[in-house]
């Protein structure tokens, strides 16, 4: 066997193998046997036709093709072993030449990620601040929810709640296309800024009292959101049925107590501020992490085999498909709506896939450079944290998360989070532990062995089983028992 390797750019290896006759012949014979098994050749029972007959009946091409289907696989494996090539992903058979048989493969190699001096990376960090206004706004919103609504006898004012029947149409209202709305018993908060059912509606209703009817015309502004309505005049008929006043409660400790478990207004205010701060800091942290990673990706040189990008593209499209499925759409429907072909969509998704791929390669590199690891316990914790909020169904959830596959996914996720955390720490210039002694470059994250994972499944399975007493009480509806067992976890 003559083997020729040629490194190409983009971390791919071109592998040319000339197959010996002694390798080829047995493969051809085997192929003939296989073909004759699957087809009827007149005069022979299936599988009994001799080589020459099959050859004459189906031709050389079919025979070679069938033979090479298997042969190309086994030769690929053999060559990789002999040449000590470590492919990063599945290789691809690019070209087949007959006589002599020459196979050309392209083998993707591990991507090369050059991070540069990533430890010197500094990105200014701005701590989030929550102003008093934001707190006040949030408090006002809470107060609005507590507003008391009571019917009153006076004409409607702004900020009142009005129950009314409304009819609206364009022009004379004879054509069906002129129809705008006809609603009965709608409750509306009169707010000058509201644009439902149309801007300026509230101002017209102000001053009407219960039982009153009014007809008026409203013009849509030239910059109205719906283009077809711009500049049109609408004719509106309104019948007010009830006017209610909204009274906002006073700010006092009483109100704070009614809003939840707060001792005083001060406590409520503190709590709101805390919530807002937490929200803001989470947002800022995430944006900051993104920024750091983006910078790192920007300064890193990443070379990877093009095949990897195709895989990532597949992933991106699969993700899209899954999201669509959740909305009861298929990818084909989506394409129809967007008026695109599959190829167009693929081409458009390319930049997304590229940045995703680069990001994950860079993070993977950070993991190996920093020597970050995840152990089984951490995964256990994560499983626990994820399944607890499911309350009654926590047991099921835990079981689903404890399979080898999902544990692996979780481990990768944790590892990624760690890498991001480390990068954030570096970016902020905080003290970080020195990088681990360099292992092999481009190494993929090590994951937990299946053995520990399996043992763990057994453990959780034991946890889920209801205590005998509970099961006895529950009788036939044993399904309720695990829920009881889980109850302490729900807090």
């Amino acid at each position: 066997m003559k083997i020729d390797t040629q490194p190409q750019e983009n971390r791919t290896l071109k592998l040319t193998v000339e197959v010996d006759d002694e390798r080829l012949q047995p493969a051809l014979r085997a192929a003939a046997r296989r073909i004759s098994k699957g087809h009827r050749i007149p005069g022979f029972r299936p599988g009994k036709a001799p080589y020459e007959v099959v050859l004459r009946h189906f031709g050389e091409n079919t025979l070679y093709q069938t033979a090479l289907e298997d042969l190309s696989q086994s030769i690929y494996k053999e060559v990789l072993e002999r040449e000590q090539i470590e492919p990063y992903a599945a290789g691809e058979l690019q070209d087949i030449q007959l006589k002599p048989v020459v196979l050309t493969y392209s083998v993707p190699l591990a991507p090369q990620v050059e991070l540069g001096d990533y430890r010197a990376l500094r990105v200014p960090f701005e701590a989030p601040s929550v102003g008093g206004e934001a707190v006040q706004e949030q408090l006002e919103r809470l107060r609005e929810h507590q507003a008391v609504v009571e019917p009153v006898g006076r004409p409607a004012q702004l900020a009142d709640v009005v129950t009314l029947d409304a009819k609206a149409f364009l022009n004379t209202g004879e054509n069906p296309s002129d129809f705008l709305l006809a609603d009965q018993d709608v409750s509306l908060v009169l707010d000058e800024k509201a644009d439902w059912p149309m801007p300026g509606f509230a101002a017209q209703v102000v001053g009407m009292s219960a039982g009153e009817e009014r007809k008026f015309d409203l013009a849509f502004a030239d910059d109205f959101a719906n283009e077809s309505l711009r500049g049109q005049a609408a004719h509106v008929e309104v019948a007010v049925k009830e006017v209610k006043a909204r009274t906002l409660p006073e700010w006092d400790d009483e109100l704070a107590r009614s809003l939840g478990d707060y001792e005083s207004l001060e406590a409520l205010r503190a709590r709101v501020r805390e919530d807002l701060e937490r929200q803001a800091s989470r947002q800022v942290e995430r944006a900051y992490a993104d920024q750091v990673i983006d910078q790192l990706v920007g300064q890193a040189t990443v070379t990877y085999p093009p095949m990897l990008l195709e895989h990532e593209l597949d992933d991106v499209l699969n993700d899209l498909d899954r999201r669509l499925r959740e909305q009861r759409l298929t990818l084909d429907d989506y394409l129809k709506i967007q008026n695109k072909t599959r190829e167009q969509l693929r081409a458009e998704s390319r930049p997304v896939a590229e940045s995703r791929l680069k990001r994950s390669l860079v993070l993977g590199r950070v993991v190996s450079l920093e020597g970050l690891t995840v152990d089984a316990e951490e995964v256990d914790e994560r499983v626990e944290a994820l399944s607890t909020p499911w309350g009654e169904r926590a047991g099921e959830m835990r079981k689903a998360l404890s399979t080898d596959d999902s544990r692996r996914v979780l481990a990768v996720e944790l590892l990624t989070n760690k890498a991001v955390e480390r990068l954030v720490a570096i970016g902020k210039g905080e003290a970080v532990p020195p990088p681990a002694p360099l292992g092999e470059t481009g190494e993929r994250p090590t994951l937990i062995e299946p053995a520990t994972a399996a043992a763990d499944t057994a453990e959780t399975a034991a946890e889920v089983n209801p205590p005998p007493a509970a099961a006895a009480e529950a009788g036939p509806g044993v399904a309720a028992a695990p829920a009881q067992a889980e109850a302490p976890n729900q807090s």
Binding site: P42, G43, F44, R45, K48, P50, E52, V53, R56
Partner: protein, 101 residues
């Protein structure tokens, strides 16, 4: 029937004939309907350059089949043909597929 070249129609190749080739030194041909044993012997000896020991002939009966799945079923009739089993000297062989020499 004028020449020996019109006697042999085609070699018959089946599992059975393969067995006869290999074990019994017999070769099977479809021959002209009016060919005689002597003519067949002459033809094989000249064309394949072998010594013929014995010729057995038979007329393979036409195969009947039925066509049409629903309604009228028509009986179709294949063609009957004459078959010759030629035994040659044990140390000789005919490569059936190389054709006439």
């Amino acid at each position: 029937m004028t020449t020996i070249y019109e006697v042999l129609r085609r070699p018959i190749e089946t599992e059975k004939s393969r067995h006869q080739n290999a074990k019994l030194h017999q070769y099977v041909f479809e021959v002209a309907r009016d060919a005689t044993k002597v003519q067949i012997k002459d033809a094989v000896q000249t064309l394949f350059d072998v010594e013929v020991r014995k010729v057995n002939v038979l007329v393979a009966p036409a195969k009947r089949g039925r066509r049409g799945k629903y309604g009228r079923r028509t009986v179709v009739r294949g063609q009957e043909y004459k078959k010759a089993v030629v035994t040659i000297r044990a140390d000789q062989s005919i490569d059936v597929f190389e054709g006439v020499k």
